[in-house]
Each structure stands twice: as C-alpha cells, then as structure tokens.
Amino acid sequence: MIAELGHFALILALVLACVQAVVPLVGAQQNRYALMAVGRPAAQAQLFFLLFAYGCLTWAFVTSDFTVRLAAVNSHTATPLIYKITGVWGNHEGSLLLWAASLSLWTVAVTIFSRDLPEAFMARVLGVLGAISAGFVSFTLFTSNPFTRLLPAAAEGRDLNPLLQDPGMIIHPPLLYMGYVGFSVAFAFAIAALLSGRLDAAWARWSRPWTTAAWVFLTAGIAVGSGWAYYELGWGGWWFWDPVENASFMPWLLGTALIHSLAVTEKRGAFRNWTVLLAISAFSMSLLGTFLVRSGVITSVHAFATDPARGLYILVLLVLVIGISLTLFAWRAPRLTGGGSFALMSRESTLLGNNVLFAVVTGAVLLGTLYPLFLDALNMGKISVGPPYFEAVFVPLMVPVVVLMVIGPFVRWKNDDSARIVRRLAPGAIVSVLLGVGLAVVVGNFTWRTVLGLALAAWVLIGSVQLLRARVAERPGAAAGAGVRLRGIPAAWWGMWLAHLGVGVFIIGVTMVGSLESELDVRMKDGQTARLAGYTFTFRGVVDAPGPNYLAARATIEVARGERQIATLTPEKRLYLAQQMPMTEASLDIGPFRDVYVSLGDELEDGSWIVSLYHKPFISWIWLGCTLMGVGGICAAADRRYRRLAERRVPAAATQSA
C-alpha cells in the first residue's frame, strides 16, 4: 500500500512538473501574470510529492518490505538501520529519485531566496527547471520505477553492496547530486536570460550565489568521494581518473570557470557569450555524467546497474536539453556583443585566460574518458586510457591556471601597468622557487615534480599573505585600525581568498603524498614487527569480530615511533554474508602531517597474514584544501551584497504594483 502511494505521488509529481514546464513559459511569452504565477505553487507541490514518494521508498527499506523489488535487491533485515536508509540511494532507481528530489529542492529554494526576481524572469526560470524535472521524473517512472513489486516476496533481501556500507557513502551521493543538480539553476537562469534577451549584469548577479552554492556542494561531494575511495577501497589511493570520477570532475572544472566568468560579466559586462556558454556546458556535463554512469557506455568500477534502454532515454533527454539550449545560444548570442574593452594586462585577461584553460582541461578529461569509445566507433582499434594520460595532460595545463590564480587578484580591471605587477609579484615568485628547491632538498626528493609542486604552493601562500596585506592597506578610511579595516572586507572577498588559499594547501598535499609516500607489504605473525618510514608496526594477532551482517577477522597492530606508542590500529577483513563478498576495512591513524594506514590481506597457510603498511605524508592537506575551497565558496555565496540588493528591490516592486 505504502509503495503504491509512493508510486502515485511520483505520477502526480510528473503531472505537476509538466504544468510547471509549460504554463509559466507561456505566461512569460504572452505577458500574462496569472499564468506566470502558476510556477511557484506547482514547484512547491512537486517538492511535496517527491519527498512523499522518497519517504515511501525509505519506509520500504526501513521495514524490510521485500515485496518491493528494490528493497529486496538492496537491503537485508540484518543491515544496520543507517545503511537501510542510505541504501535507498545506493542503487539506480533510488538515486534517480534522489536526483529528482534535489532538483525540486533547488527549484523551491529559488522561489524562496530569489523571490524578488522580476515575475517574467522567475516564470522562465521555473519553466526551464520544470522541463528538466519532467524529463527526469518521467525517466524514473517509465524506465526505472523504484516501486515495482516483487511477488511473491523474497524471503530475505540481497543486502546493499558492502562497498557502500560506509559513513562516507552516507553523505557522498546526496552532496554530489546537490552539486550536479545545482548547476541546473545557473543553467535555467542562462536559458531564461537567453529567452528574454536580457543578459546583463543583473542576470550575472542573480546567478552568482546559486552557481557558487552548487559548486560548494560539488566540491564537498567530490572530496568526500575521494576520501571514501582512500580508506574504503583499501589501497590508499585517493584519485583514479575513473570515468565516473571524471564525470563529477568535469562539471566541477566548468563550474569553477563559470564562477569566475560570472564575476567578469557582473563587474564589467564582458564575456557575456562565454558566460552563457559555460552555464549551459556546466549543466550539460552534469547530464553527461549521469548518462555515462547510468548507460554503461563506459565500463567503470562505479557502474553498478546499467541498461541500454535507460541509456537511450537519457541520451534523448541529453540531446533535447543540450541541443535546444545550444540552438537557442546560436540564435541569441550574436546580439550579445559588447561589454567594456580591456587591455592585455588586466583582470579581465587573467580571468579569460583561466577560463580558457579550464575549458581546455575539461576537454582533455572528456577526450580521455571517451577516447576508447571514439576509436571503437570509428573502427580504429580498441584501447583503454589510464592515469598516465590524465596526469601528463592535467599537470601542464593546471600549472598556468594556478599561476594566473595568484596574479589575477593583484591586477586591476580594464588596464594595468605590467611593470607594476612584475615589481609587486617578482620577489614572492623568486622566494617561492628558492623555497621549492630548498624544501625538495630537505625532504630528500629532488625531482622536478616536487620542486614544481612546492614552489607553486609556496607562491600561492605567499601571494595570499601579500594580497591580504594589500587589501587592508588599500581600504579607504586608512585612519581606522587594521582590525576595523579587516572587518570591512566583504564576505565575497574572503571567499575568494580562502578558496585560493585552499588550492595552495591542496597542492602541498598532492605533491608531498605523491613524492614521499611509502608502502610495504609484509607477512606478519604474532609479535613480529615491521618498520616503515621511521614507524614500528607490531602485529598482535587476529581475532574474530562478527558484525550485524558480516563476519570479520580483526587484526591488532601497534604503531610506535621510537619508544613512543602512537596508535593501535585494527584493520579488518570482512565477509559480507548476504552477497558472500569479501571486503578489507583499512585502519588509519590520521595526523596533521601524515597518515599511517594499515590494511589486512590474506591469511597464509602457516598462520601468518599479509599486511599492507602505508605512510602517507600530508595527505590530510588534500582534504583540508578542499575544505578551505568549500568554506570560501560558502562565504562568497553568503555575501551580504546579494541580499542587500534583494532588500533594496522590495520597495521598488511594491510601488510598481501599487
């Protein structure tokens, strides 16, 4: 009964999405307020029904109702409650429902936080979002109904994939989806602006907080996903250039470019075509990512459930959404020339350079991801592309991005004096190179990779300090104390500063762990010790440690540095009963400057165990860097400026209607 109610709610949501897609758009075109006004209640009611449907599905999982096929395949009576709840999105159908619910959540958020948008603009935005929603809800209903019954019921469920039974997996998909789907708002704003022919600074200002918010979710989602891969997959890597990882990374790259491009469009009215194109592309990449993951065109670690019929449906959706948008772009964009002119040495140039580089990097990642498919389709042979390609392409393209990132904030809009910039930045650059060389020698890894990484990171950090000092010094009202002037800096500026600082911290982490990590595989018996990177690991035997839905052998390994006891690690080897699937559960001691990571391999015939020991210097800095970027994004999105403008518009709107 509950499942049927959920199914019915989903059908109602589809009807509402269709209404939301058509009526407000017609209203905006004919300038009829009554029709435009339908958008908001339709969006809100749609959210209600989607959440209701989602709740019904969760209910089936929590109560182990195995007459619902999805629950029978992805849950088990012995699964811990939290994984029953997260199991809802650990599969194709449920994750689509989550996708649709996120989209609806974003739509309603737009109706609440951007309620001061002009009525016609809002109507177009809601219309576009409604059309996307109709596409995805119908996809869910027609090809991937989560409420399909299984009669007669299964006696017991098959349980959630053990890889997904992990705290990281609880939040990774919702964050990632909020990010993916969040770009739909920037997309809808861009399409609405193209439809109305009004692509101006106001449009850019409205889009900015939404784009940044989506970007924050995506950043967090990718970071959590990489953290999950790091400790759950059990071999200590944190990024694999897997097609599905790339699918989330491409919208991130374009989203980053979009954030910067929007800044130029708002401040200077320039790059309008480019900004619109980026807004369309960022969301297209999100859709493409969904397609790649769900169609099985590319084989991947992540591709759990794939089905060509579903692939075809998403492809049609993809062609409709992106094809129509790009056609609209080709039709409207030629009228959008103009914007302030700027010299070669100007803030605009650095941002343009950055955007072009981001677009090229995205293209390179896309090419690498789809290359096997291209060659196969052209009958030119069959190949696979591995991490060496991505590293060879990615690093040389990202180095200039980072350099421009350091220079950009110092350069004035419109026109600046090259000599002034060189005088300003050369000392820091020289010190950074020397630091890079010096530190590489100190850590005993004098390779170009280490030198380059450390020098770049040093320059980002030095540049950040210089930038902050310059900002405090240049503020008007120099008579006030530094504390007052610091407080006078707007949140958006802090956001930029923190996010850029985060990039520096991230580079330190990547460089250090790439250059200095060490690992060792040993056979160990009770009481035996092994040494790695100055740490002593003592094996204290293995005991049985059964869990609710698995059996496990748990080893105890004491870690010491010199005489000092540091940690007791307990890696496990688990066998999940329902799927008879073995899993390694690594154990880590996390520290600010290094992680010590232990994973348990197989038992050998003589009773000893294979143990993998890892020493990962500075790896936490990778996620610290991502956190700083995310916090920076939150600051930027929360800047008072966006709210203040909204407040100011209220009286104006009131007088209009009066």
């Binding site: 997959l233 169609s295 492809l315 790009l326 389709a377 696979s384 591995g386």
Partner: protein, 177 residues
C-alpha cells in the same frame, strides 16, 4: 545567425552521435564477434621469465581463461580476489595477459595482491590485446580445448556472474572432451 555561434551545437551533436553509437556497442551486453571463432594465436615473452615464451598453442587440449589485466587498472583490483581464489582452488587454469604495463609495476602488483595466474604473457604494446579486440582492462576470455573462444567477459568478473555463467560453461566444456 553567425556561423561561429553554431560551433558548440555542432560539436555537441557529433558527441551525441558517438554516444548513441556507444549505446549500440554496449561493452557488457553485446557479445564479441570473436566468440565462436578460433582464438588468435600468439607467442610472446612471459612476465616472470622474460627469456621464456608463452604460446597460445601451449594450452591446446585444456579449457582455460585468458585474463587481460594491468597494474594501472583499477577495476582489475576488484576482480583480483576472485581470481586468486580460483587459482588456489585450481578450478581452471587462468593465463594472464599483462596489457600495456611496465614489468616492474606488474611484478610489484602480483607481490602485493597475490598471483592467481598459471602463466603470464606480456603484451607491452597491446598487440595481442588488439587481436583479441580488448576494449579495456579487465577482460576475460574462456577458450576451449580446440582453442575456440567460447565466452568473453568485459569488466571485472563478479562471483555471482562466475558461478552463474562461466562455471557451468567450464564444467560443460571440460566434460565434453
């Protein structure tokens, strides 16, 4: 409408064309044209003994698996425990084809994760892989006593799939001769 603004649309449509074609090529669902044909013969060096060579003709008279893998391949690690178990139980001889890999990396990988293979042939340039139509690692071919490819699996082998599909075929083929 100026032509340059159509460029994004044209690029996208080309991409969509490839994706549509990609659906037809669905790597997991469409059987390889090689199934039912004689396995392409090859004779290459062995990984652990570079001076010795391995020839596909050596396996005549046996039912065997050819597993294409590489140390850089992430999904290979997923199926590796299953292969190790098959190797230990001696269910079927598994010949590894080390694909576009470095020798040191490959040996290191085996030390770390265990060696399930009876023999490992090396294919550093991917020439053998090309003959076998390898789309990406890992791939597994089931070859019968006469050297005919009976089944091809793309992507990591799962226990369920092995028990349900491959094992019955192996039993059948072994009995048939």
């Amino acid at each position: 409408m100026k032509a340059k603004f159509l460029v994004p649309l044209v690029i996208f449509l080309a991409l969509a064309g490839f994706l549509a074609y990609g659906l037809k090529l669905n790597p997991r669902e469409v059987p390889s044209p090689l199934v039912g044909k004689p396995a392409p013969a090859f004779s290459v060096a062995q990984l652990q003994a570079p001076e010795a060579s391995f020839s596909s003709a050596d396996m005549r008279g046996q039912v065997w698996l050819l597993n294409v893998w590489a140390s850089w391949c992430v999904s290979c690690r997923q199926e590796h425990p299953l292969l190790v178990e098959l190797g230990r139980r001696g269910v079927v001889p598994v010949v590894g084809l080390n694909y576009k890999d470095g020798r040191a990396d490959a040996l290191d990988y085996l030390v770390r994760h265990g060696n399930p293979y009876t023999t490992i042939a090396v294919d550093p340039e991917g020439k053998v892989g090309f003959d076998y139509g390898v789309y990406g690692t890992p791939e597994t071919f089931l070859i019968d006593r006469e050297g005919v490819i009976r089944y091809k699996h793309i992507g990591p082998l799962t226990r369920e799939h092995f028990e349900r599909v491959l094992m019955p075929m192996i039993t059948e083929l072994s009995r048939a001769g």
